[in-house]
Symmetry: C2
Subunit: 305 residues, 2 copies
Amino acid sequence: LTVVRSQLSAWVGAPPAGEIWIGDDAAVVEVPAGPLVLAVDAAVAGVHADLNLVSLADLGWKAMAAAISDIAAMGARPRHALATFCVPPGTDVELLSRGVAEAQAEWSCPVIGGDLTGAEQVVVSIAVTGCLEPPNQPATTRAGASPGDLLFLTGPVGASAAGLRVLRSGRLTRSDTALATAHRRPRARVAEGGAARAAGATAMIDVSDGLARDIHRIAVASGIGIDLDRLPVADGATQEEALGGGEDYELVIAVPPDRAEPMLAAFKDAGLRAPAAIGRCTQHVGQLDLFGQSIAPVGWRHDIG
Amino acid sequence: LTVVRSQLSAWVGAPPAGEIWIGDDAAVVEVPAGPLVLAVDAAVAGVHADLNLVSLADLGWKAMAAAISDIAAMGARPRHALATFCVPPGTDVELLSRGVAEAQAEWSCPVIGGDLTGAEQVVVSIAVTGCLEPPNQPATTRAGASPGDLLFLTGPVGASAAGLRVLRSGRLTRSDTALATAHRRPRARVAEGGAARAAGATAMIDVSDGLARDIHRIAVASGIGIDLDRLPVADGATQEEALGGGEDYELVIAVPPDRAEPMLAAFKDAGLRAPAAIGRCTQHVGQLDLFGQSIAPVGWRHDIG
């Protein structure tokens, strides 16, 4: 397989005046003054996705969604993406690109540069830049939650893991289609992350490796415990999938009690689904409780397939 | 292999106050006002490097050097890097990281975020951000050269290809060591790129895929031809290696005749090796001549090993 970088340019749009996108040694873009947010995420065929169950387009979409979700989890807005495609000979790069292109349109995050090279296995790595709007308020990290803060979740979880289960079963009923779509085409919660940051959220994380594992990360980073009294399980998913399934990309938001109502009002005003109150932050550092029982921070692990 | 993102944090330095580096969903850095330059480059074991001949540390260095060289070729200064490591079980990630860390120190381009995941084959993808100093002068693209512009090369080429040859031969004489080092530890010409841009270079490219192929890219992008009357061949390399060998990362610089002397003076003032005059730009669009004979734009192709 010969490297043909120009293949990437076929589906990359034209840059605005004064900018340089794919085709030169590097891209040059205008960014607003203020902090720059940067994230990278890789999707590897056989590790993050089974190409017998999902398409190359889905793999491209998933890599974009994962990286953009990392930007969203800081309360930032994605701006530009760089894509690395490593592909075996005969790979349908156009199909792979189509999924990336659909994701770039979905989140207004154009791919402005990239690299295309040979490999034994399909690997897609996506780097994304983002900005904070307004820039004078810091990014929302995992580390700012305090005991007493309320925890919200932007949507039910477990759908991606349940989708993988039904895809593996090979027997999709009509009601399973939504689960399969959740697995194939996860959605980054960009608007929700921005609204939570603007409303004064103290900590935030995206559910990429499972709710239990990811809220445990907030607990460790913030030096708190977490007491869950509600677990929003996606229709058709199990409680285990909701707690341990990865790649849901819903956001967990910690917010002081007095800012919870204004935050919910802001979500409503923006036409966003109301986040569900799922629990609160405690003083028991690193401890997770669900319905009053201690649970382990077990989530999805990316194992070689 | 389980994903352990925290492994990456072991060798990443501490961020300056107000910034967030590895460990949260995304990194947050301060960037100067002005355009942002972005590039990404992947190094795949068996494609870009033979791990029987070079070490994992070399592979990490090579990936960093290639991405930073793309930034240098715009006349920009690298600022921050994001690293994706895809590795088979049992890979010495610490050794791989060491090469990346040595490169980040060499070019003052800290890795501030990354992803580490399983794969069948070692893949390192490096995304780099850069800035233009001063920002009020545009980046130097491949597209600005005009007929009559002089062409310079920042150093002799062919050393990396010759280094691969001597490494493959398995018999390294003392004089071959420099060639092997050129292959294992290529150098991005960051200071040279900045000096050329500041001096008014009209076009620039780094020699990543071979001098003939890369100057042809300037010719096509600028709508010119190129007439070479000198070919600086690295000691121990052949003319074929100098014309067709990749990964030298010397810069080809086009500059109008009246700016050539001031540019050479600026390089000297900065303590940089004097670029060699290698030829001039002509009106014969897309045509390459060497010593008065037409040559093909053949360079190194990244083939699956």
